[in-house]
Amino acid sequence: MINSVRNTVLAIINKNNYGYLSPNDFNLFAKQAQLDLFDEYFFQYNQQINEENARLSGTGYADIKKGYEEVIDFFSETATLAQTYTTSTAVSPSGLANVYTMPTKATTGTDYYLINKVLIYNTLTASGINTGTAAASAGNQLIDATATFTASMVGGVVSIVLNNNVVTTALITGFVDANTLNVNTTAITSTGKNYSIYLKSNLTAEAELVNNSKITLLNNSMLTQPNITYPAYTQEGNSITLSPSLVSNMGQVVAQYIRYPKDPKWTFTTISNGDPVFDQSQPDYQDFELPLDDGNDLVSKILQYAGISIREGDVFKFGQVEEQTQNQEQ
């Protein structure tokens, strides 16, 4: 979609040689336009719910909310949160083990736009430090000479800290013996790493976000004090603190969140007659992540930014009018 959007934008702004948009500028404006539209989805979703409550929306093909949910869910990710103070070889000191880092590019691969839910494994099935690595012929394995692995762990999840504060999770695909499990990750290439094993059936407790002004009261109330069945968390900076504090194991906290869209990047390799030629085989190529029907909105948005950039009021106004027209149609 990114190439057609760019071609449309260039066709509009370059009609009378008003200006030219470099690939670098286009990528900047494209990113900004995508973020604008992404943000709007949440407000439109809320508006649609209000309209449903007022019986202004239908079902079936008239279910507009469903479409918004599909777009938002495209950006949904589930990842294990890293303990803020745990490294691959050292665990968090007492009192800080229940502090976990929110999703970031460094820990989970993507930044979060909003945390939808935080889930807790209510039971730690096994934990330890790996003592060996698999032979090339054996495939991917978790090896711990002191462990007592069982066949019931197959299908479970193993979390292992490979680098500082980064938790890698893998599926346990097979049981070899009490010291060896087959896993579906190739990342376990060194020994001395902390690991934890959980069963998927134990991922049942959802932690509730409680604001900092309420958490003390909540902890002091006999009836509502957070426990492993009904845990809670507060947010401070880029970390969350889980209650009860016994939620303190590596890999025990899993977040389902909505990530930001990836930055779009229109890539090229060769220059032909002074113009860059689109090449989507470049490793850093990234298309828009919004659905195809947002193409017009993206063009309108980018035109507004481009209009400001090239100081051409008509382009800006055209983009603005187009956007308003599309909004009215919606």
Binding site: I49, E52, N53, E208, V210, L218, S221, M222, L223, T224, Q225, N227, T229, Y230, A232
Partner: protein
Amino acid sequence: MAYINQEKYYTNDNINPTNENWGSYQYVSLADIVTNFLLMYNGNHSLINNEERYKILFHAKRGVQELNYDAFKEIKSLQLTVYSDLRFVLPSDFVNWVRVSLFKDNTIFPLVENIQVQSALSYVQSATATFTYDGSGNVNTKTSSLDTARQDGALNSIYLNQARMEGVDMPPFNEDYYDTYIGARYGLNTETANMNPTFTIDKKAGVINFDSTMANQECILEYISDGMENGDDSKISVNKLFEDYIYAYIKYALLNNKFGVQEYIINRARKDKSALLRNAKIRLSDIHPGRLLMNLRGENKWIK
């Protein structure tokens, strides 16, 4: 919570306690109640929306507590030996008592509550009636003579007409003095007559005090709790006959405390809650034909 198969029900997959699931189908767990409420009664198109889960959990637990106080009729019992201190420490989950019994010679003897005071705190006093204090400024205490007399078996009981008039030089009129001798002049007072040990519950101190005849005897306390299972949320449950009532109770409690909710909506929720409680109580009243039959059989007994 998912349904379990019969093997799991009867054997708990041989995991101790193996009787964990016996009778469990009568109950719905707190976790299920909260989950179902959040799913079915809370949301964008429901009366309840944007409420924190801890509020729903709080009201669910309060509803369970209220049901445990009367409607459930789930009476717990605890048997302990009463030693020479004549005390029975109340169970950790005690809320109110139903019956206290003496278990002796393989027979259960229901005991009568003593309406008189059985235990008292006493301060150390000097000859001039002043108190003495410890380093923290608290008054020094001692065992009261009432407690000593009770534990020694010297305390007279109105329940056996032990307070007799012989040889007593009775003052013209003294109310307390007079009370002690109720019945003594006119034979046995059947209202209080009882040869079994008597007890008094000191709720603040958390003990049941007995008279000296209870020493080294077995005592059975029947009591009610609040169903909170000592804080283990995973063990809290409600009889299924009350499931709808609990949902209605939570809904009413939330709407009633929310600003701006129309009065007719609150009234509807209140009536809903009350009607469901009545229904559940009738269902749980257990008026079985078999039980009625047993009572009716008693009518045919000839009293000779």
